[in-house]
Amino acid sequence: MSIRHGLLALLDQGPRYGYQLRSEFEARTGATWPLNVGQVYTTLGRLERDGLVESAGEDDEGHQFYAVTDEGRVELRRWFDTRVPRTNPPRDELAIKLAMAVTVPGVDVTGVVQGQRRHSMKALQDYTRLKGRALAADTGDGADLAWLLVLEQLIFQTEAEIRWLDHCESRLGQYAERQAAATAEPGAAPPARRAVKSRARGRL
């Protein structure tokens, strides 16, 4: 997640101070990726060092304001115009867990799949409830729309995971059936090509 560009996008709408940036960021993403004020100031420091933002004075309450520079605006456009890379898929713990589960003897893989599906379904229900609330509370404000889009991204992603888990379950079932069929034939587990051929010949 690019905090850097997120902050630039907010500052593009006018000078802001750190705490303000944090709360506006969270209003748009519904605290899905919570930021602490420390992170905000560290990032602002780096942006200032790189000439993308500059200090814009203090108000009466001592809030230090920041404004985006021309260079910063260029960097922001560049970000919007650049595709999010898909070349290095993020490491997915669930995929790794299942890949390990099918190779480690004695693991109840179906149980792992079912338990995860229940858990993910529960999360999907929670997101959907939040979405119902967001739809009801929508005031036509851009921040409401931003939050809705983020929520729906979570919803579609979780749905995809559940569909994949369904698929894993049927794939595992298919595999187990094949294994069972193979072991049911005495002395034919796994059936050697020759044995299959000779049996077929016997039938012909």
Partner: protein, 254 residues
């Protein structure tokens, strides 16, 4: 009225329900001793692959088919104990059913299709029409009132079928893939209507293969080969029931 505050009675109770199709070697166990209760205010989604028994479960709950074992209770009434006429009356009054193929009568307009179950129950034609128009309004398709099914798209027919299932004070709504022919935002608005009905105290059971739609439910149950293998636990059971009962009371007082 204080009866309403006792959340004990489920609107739908499947009590060890089994359904076997065919005989002998061709015997198929569509459902195996399924236990399921749906309470007022609750939306339950049933998920499972094709052939897992989802639709069988729904037809049994709606009294359109009889179980081979166990019993189906709607508002405490054992459906198997009723003669055909009484069963039809329970189906009309208590149960709204959305079929996968909509089942609209081609010779009747949308409003007439929706009003039909009410008229059969003795509601005057004008009152039934009023209710039908309100149901159409709720689903955002008021302009379809005087159209015939053949002049509507699949998605429109589907929403008319849903309006028919919701008309009157149906305490139990059963829906088989209710968002099947709808695009994702229209499907969502239909689910929101179903959700609102349940929040107002109705009970609903919906069969779907889409997790995103099932997620509107309070509880999701998973069917595999006729068995309930898993479900998402309902953590807020107590409050949900109390809220539903309170809403039902509020409705009565107004």
């Amino acid at each position: 009225m204080t009866e309403q505050l006792k959340p004990a009675q489920p609107v739908l109770h499947l009590d060890r329900v089994s359904r076997v199709h065919g005989h002998g070697a061709a015997e198929v166990h569509a459902l195996r001793a399924v236990d399921l209760k749906v309470y007022p205010g609750e939306l339950v989604a049933v998920m499972g692959p094709s052939g897992s028994g989802k639709s069988t479960l729904l037809t049994l709950a709606g009294g359109l088919d009889s179980p081979s074992g166990g019993q189906v209770l709607v508002e405490g009434i054992v459906l198997g104990s009723l003669d055909r006429k009484k069963l039809a009356a329970v189906r009309r009054r208590s149960v709204g059913y959305v079929f996968q193929d909509y089942n609209l009568i081609p010779a009747l307009t949308a409003a007439e299709n929706i009003a039909l179950p009410r008229e059969l129950d003795g509601t005057s034609a004008s009152a039934a029409r009023k209710e039908a128009l309100a149901a159409l309004e709720e689903l955002g398709i008021a302009e379809l009132a005087d159209r015939f099914p053949d002049d509507m798209s699949g998605g429109q027919q589907q929403r008319v079928a849903i309006a028919r299932a919701l008309i009157g004070d149906r305490r139990l709504v059963l829906a088989d893939e209710p968002t099947g022919a709808l695009d994702s935002t229209t499907g969502e608005s239909v689910l929101a209507v179903l959700r609102a009905r349940c929040d107002a105290g109705a009970a609903a059971m919906m069969v779907t293969h889409e997790a995103r739609h099932a997620a509107w439910a309070d509880r999701v149950v998973f069917l595999r080969d006729g068995l309930l293998v898993d479900e998402t636990a309902r953590q807020d059971a107590g409050t949900l029931l109390v809220t539903a009962a309170a809403n039902a009371l509020k409705g009565k007082d107004q």
